[in-house]
Amino acid sequence: MKLTLKIWRQENATAKGGMQTYNLDDVSPDMSFLEMMDVLNEQLMAQGIDPVAFDHDCREGICGSCSMFINGEAHGPDRLITTCQLHMRKFNDGDTIHIEPFRAKPFPVIKDLVVDRSSFDRIQHAGGFVSVNTSGNTQDANALPIEKAAADKAFDAAACIGCGACVASCKNASAMLFVSAKVSQYALLPQGQVEATDRVLNMVKQMDEEGFGNCTNTGACEVECPKGISLENIARMNREYLSANLKG
């Protein structure tokens, strides 16, 4: 396949970036999107051009690092996958592909397609945990009876890999899907109840301080999320937040 790539290039966090055009002549439809990027970088290095910086680690849809906004969608046109799981057979010979970093004020660009998502880490630090005594007296988790439906929903919420596709896809750059998944995975389980009030208040506070936008329920996040996190979680977080405020 022959492809024209239009890629955001930005020297560093403070430099002014812009879209650059590159041509690739021999892309196999069997390649993954990141392999195609590797081929491009080989070519650029051979020409003495700085390769395109992009985040990646597991290359199997687990780590959530491979943030790319491809042809106007987070992780490209396919559903329920990350960029590393996207294949070139989803594109056609002669296509022009736009590749941009995930855009949000709280996700500043570090270089090219690499963005700083530590705002997500700070939200997690604010309450995305349960405090457990690990001094050897830890209670067996199975000793607590948990309703199957609740356990299933908690697991579904816990599938979030913190990739940031929800923020990138949202026209408002809202982080509600991510934060609600992290709140829900505990809100649904008895282990999460003890710290539930502080958790939702602190996590939402941190989310707002980071400067993410206001949710307007467009549902774009749910469609683009590689893990199929449901909007139900956002409604649950809104309930948790309102009742936590009533408790004070």
Binding site: K6, K171, N217, A220, E232, A235
Partner: protein, 219 residues
């Protein structure tokens, strides 16, 4: 206001509650207006009540006006904050792949409704206030239907009204279900609620358009 400026979720809930309030008002407004198609006497009677009852005039009406102002000011604030949260714009953004046009353009449909409200106030509210509180004209319980019908003699006005109702429909096609999600309602009844929302968002604006068109054709 402290809570509203401090939390995205409070802002969202306030937006939803004002939207829900406006949708209840709209239902009541429609119920009264539709009588004008069937019976001038009933319409006059209800309008006379609404126009002279002090509770409606001095409590409900100010609350309604406050609600509308709050809702659209908040809508503009949210949109401005949300634009800011993106920072640098995407070169290519394919919103149509993952969300409805209505959900992405609440400000456009809302601003159209706002412009319409300006005209609508000029048409009905301003003459009403002038009649009652400025010129202190004698109260005639039978004047309302005639005044209403008179307004819809003008084809231009009927067309503007119908277009506005179309945008109202677009606004509510997203707004109805969205407001329930915002207040935390999302459960096994949500598919049914979304269906009712679609019916409401289509039938109520269509009903208003129907009233305007019927009066035009009767003229």
């Amino acid at each position: 206001m402290g809570a509203l400026s401090s939390s995205t979720i409070f802002r969202k809930v306030a937006m939803a509650l004002s939207g829900l309030f406006l949708m209840i008002f709209l239902l009541q407004h429609f119920a009264i207006n539709i009588t004008s198609v069937f019976s001038a006497a009933v319409f006059n009677e209800v309008s006379h009540f609404m126009g002279t009852n002090p509770l409606v005039q001095f409590v409900l009406q100010p609350i309604l006006i406050g609600g509308v102002i709050f809702h659209f000011l908040m809508g503009f604030v949210l949109e401005w904050q949300n634009k800011k949260a993106r920072g640098i714009k995407y070169a290519v953004f394919k919103g149509s792949a993952n969300s409805s046009w209505m959900s992405r353009n609440m400000l456009i449909s809302g601003a159209t409704i706002l412009a319409f409200l300006g005209l609508h106030f000029y048409d009905f509210w301003v003459p009403e206030i002038k009649h009652k509180y400025i010129e202190f004209l004698p109260e005639d319980p039978n004047r309302y239907h005639e005044e209403l019908v008179h307004k819809f003699e003008d084809l231009g006005r009927v067309i503007i009204y119908v277009i506005s109702f179309f945008f109202l429909s677009l606004h509510l096609l997203h707004g109805f279900a969205s407001s329930f999600q915002s207040v935390g309602f999302n459960n096994k009844y949500t598919p049914l609620l979304k269906f009712i929302g679609k019916l409401y968002a289509i039938l109520i604006p269509a009903g208003f358009a129907f009233i305007a068109i019927v009066h035009y054709l009767n003229n």
